[in-house]
């Protein structure tokens, strides 16, 4: 119990002081999203803090159930307050979102923040044409006639690379291929020039060649609109291509935050090492064996005590059982590089240099 209290106190104060509006464009402080269920309280996100500036891309990586999507849905205000408990602070452009009225959040959604979902087929309404859905979103935030909105929708579809947008605007989602649907959804998300764009596994359902097209598109559009982007994915390759900073999540908490260079070349958390070692890579010689992380991701109802990663960690015995009792805090170990691990920093650097990196 005391352990958790302390975590609450310190986690929120990472970075600048907890009081008042922050200077960053988006700042999340000690975000918690809990779902009460019959089996117990599911702590999907349990104390997440990060900052993001405009024009930057933050990649959130982690396995399924680590809380990546749940935290982004909390930013968008998409959790049903009746079956979830959201606490903490989310500051977007000087406005705190967690305590805001649903009406105000609706005004912000679309105009100031927008989301690209993983599965475009289920995120789009099958009953309305693609154009209709973009027009609808645009007219909510802009007082324009249907004709003007339709022209805007055609423009947007053309911008994201849909061929013959003036014809395809009247198509239904099922008439589009998977890649085109994802483009149409990006067009919809971008139709009101949002300042914050959250992309939740935007390319996971797509083939590599189409994925490359979509990543290029997101990169180009970011330069054009200077948006802040949160890129949620489990594919480390996608993150490396697109992100400026990386946040690694495990069991609802952030275990490492760093610039993309640090995260890939000098990671300081055993879980990040595990992710890098699990992945077969085309840019290296083929390794004889992959180095998986043993075990499976933990249940979010019974999160392991101490460090949530300890049952799967190969180095937990190196600090006298501390990993099993105390939860490590996310501390800034180098400028701009935070990690939550009990292992002494020098030891971690040594393990990375001598044991992990040579085998990748």
């Amino acid at each position: 119990m005391t352990d958790k209290r302390r975590a609450e106190l310190t986690d929120g104060t990472v970075g600048d002081s907890a009081a008042g509006a922050p200077t960053a464009f988006l700042e999340v402080r000690d975000l918690r999203v809990h779902f009460p269920t019959d089996d117990g309280l599911v702590k999907s996100v349990d104390g997440l803090s990060f900052k993001l500036e405009r024009g930057r891309t933050l990649g959130i990586v982690g396995e399924s159930g680590s809380g990546k999507s749940v935290s982004s849905m909390a930013i968008m205000g998409l959790h049903n307050r009746r079956n979830s408990k959201v606490s903490g602070e989310i500051w977007l452009n000087g406005e705190e979102l967690v305590g805001l009225s649903p009406d105000r959040v609706r005004q912000l959604r679309g105009k100031h923040m927008a989301m690209i979902f993983q599965d475009p087929l289920s995120a789009m309404h099958p009953f309305y044409t693609v154009g209709h859905q973009i027009v609808e979103a645009y007219r909510v935030h802009n007082d324009v006639s249907k004709q003007v909105a339709r022209k805007h929708a055609i423009d947007m579809l053309g911008r994201v690379g849909i061929p013959k947008p003036d014809k395809r605007v009247d198509d239904y989602p099922h008439q589009f291929s998977g890649g085109m649907r994802q483009r149409a959804m990006i067009a919809m998300a971008l139709s009101c020039d949002p300042e914050l764009l959250i992309a939740d596994e935007p390319t996971t359902a797509l083939d590599v060649t189409v994925q490359a097209q979509i990543l290029d598109l997101i990169r180009d559009l970011q330069q054009e609109f200077n948006s802040a982007i949160i890129m949620i994915t489990h594919d480390l390759g996608v993150v490396a291509e697109l992100s400026d900073d990386i946040l690694v999540m495990y069991a609802g908490r952030s275990v490492e935050q760093a610039s993309v260079e640090d995260a890939f070349h000098r990671p300081l958390h055993p879980y990040t090492w595990g992710l890098l070692g699990s992945m077969p890579r085309l840019d290296r010689d083929r390794t004889e064996r992959l180095m998986p992380i043993k075990g499976t991701p933990p249940s979010l109802i019974n999160v392991p005590s101490g460090c949530a990663f300890n049952p799967r960690c190969a180095y937990r015995d190196l600090n006298g059982g501390k990993s099993e009792t105390d939860r490590p805090e996310l501390v800034e170990v180098e400028p701009g590089h935070k990690a939550a691990c009990h292992l002494p920093l020098d030891r971690r650097r040594e393990i990375w240099d001598t044991e992990i990196r040579p085998k990748l």
């Binding site: 399924s64 699990s278 998986p292 499976t296």
Partner: protein
């Protein structure tokens, strides 16, 4: 940290590819799904899911089948398993033609031919215990095991890294990775000779994916298995396969040994596929030559004539629209179906071009790579 790009020398640790006998041979195999329309439900068209593929798999090797969704790789796998009846072509397994074999004659063969499915959630019956699921092959084939079925099942569970106590549990009590292991245990029950694995790891998380990939490799060494692995993830395929076949719109466009294919891809499509894979290294983000294919894969209802890739190919010439390039062996063990292959010697290029047109193609177009 290696600084070389995709091109890497052959490694000393490579497994020696067994040059043994051919276990499975597929010859000009195809599957057309009819499309019916109108009042009389007349056939108006056909989805040419697989349109004449040929390859063979030797004993003990792993053949990877890669391609984008809709290229026919899963349909090919299902035809090998005879879960789908081929429209044309021939499948030979252990020297026996199984293309039109009746289900009753096929049944004994099912022991030797098994499949691992993609989705560990829908491929296990939720109302059966793990024991019943893994023991089903013994019951169906009426096989007597030495110490009873239960013992055999428990041994299988241990083999795939589960605990024998899991015997009486139900699938919903397991995570995705564990479920996939249950599926693998069922597949292994009758000691098959050939396993067709259709996207065996794509539904799993990265850390668990690596566990299952390692498991498949260990089992292959231990039980002398032959795999046909169908996957869209090029890095997984490179890791697991000895030879790789690349499919595009129902055709095989390139087959080669793993190292050959990944280091010297000859077909433009293979080049495009490989260059589209995101590299998990931010240092290589800048200045990488990336081939960007335009548009989507054409519909298999009405595939482009001749070379099917010509609509998206940056090297396409007139000949590509009129004459279909044959799958030709340009270097030992490396077959490509392209009029203007890359990464090959000039003479080989000429040979292909000459076989297609009478005057030898001279100035080949240079690949228009867009620098980022």
């Amino acid at each position: 940290m290696s600084t070389t790009d995709n091109a890497t020398g052959p490694t000393a640790t490579d497994r020696v590819i067994p040059q043994g006998e051919v276990l499975l041979d597929v010859d000009n195999l195809g599957k057309h799904f009819p499309v019916h329309a109108g009042l009389l439900r007349r056939q108006v068209a056909a989805v040419k899911a697989v349109d004449g593929v040929s390859f063979s798999v030797r004993k003990g090797e792993t053949l990877g089948l890669v391609g984008e969704s809709g290229c026919g790789k899963s349909t090919t796998g299902r035809m090998i398993m005879r879960l789908l009846d081929p429209s044309f072509g021939k499948i030979t397994f252990e020297g026996e033609d199984i293309t039109r074999m009746s289900q009753s004659r096929l049944r004994p063969l099912r022991r030797d031919l098994q499949m691992i499915f993609q989705d560990p959630y829908s491929s296990l019956n939720p109302r059966q215990t793990v024991g019943a699921i893994v023991g089903a092959p013994f019951r169906l084939q009426k096989i007597q095991t030495e110490n009873g079925v239960k013992k055999a099942v428990q041994e299988l569970l241990e083999l795939v890294g589960l605990s024998p106590e899991h015997y009486n549990r139900y699938p919903h009590e397991f995570s995705g990775g564990q479920r996939q292991r249950i599926g693998i245990a069922r597949t292994l029950a009758l000691k098959p000779k050939l396993i067709v694995a259709d996207e065996p790891v794509s539904a799993l998380d990265v850390s668990v994916q690596a566990q299952v990939v390692n498991l498949l490799e260990d089992l292959q060494d231990e039980l002398d298995l032959t795999y046909v692995v169908i996957a869209h993830d090029l890095s997984v395929v490179r890791h697991i396969s000895d030879r790789v076949a690349v499919m595009y719109l129902g055709k095989i466009v390139e087959v080669a040994d793993r190292n050959d294919l990944y280091e010297r891809p000859m077909h433009p499509y293979t080049n495009a596929l490989l260059s589209a894979v995101p590299v998990p290294d931010p240092a290589k983000r800048e200045g990488r030559d990336r081939i960007r294919l335009q548009g989507d894969v054409p519909s298999p209802l009405d595939p482009p004539p001749a070379c099917r890739f010509h609509t998206r190919c940056w090297k396409a010439q007139e000949i590509c629209k009129t004459q279909e390039p044959p799958l030709a062996e340009l270097s030992p063990g490396h077959q490509v179906a392209c009029h203007f292959p890359e990464n090959t010697t000039v003479s080989a290029t000429d040979a292909v071009a000459q076989s297609a047109v009478s005057p030898p193609a001279t100035d080949l177009p240079t690949p228009s790579l867009r620098k980022e």
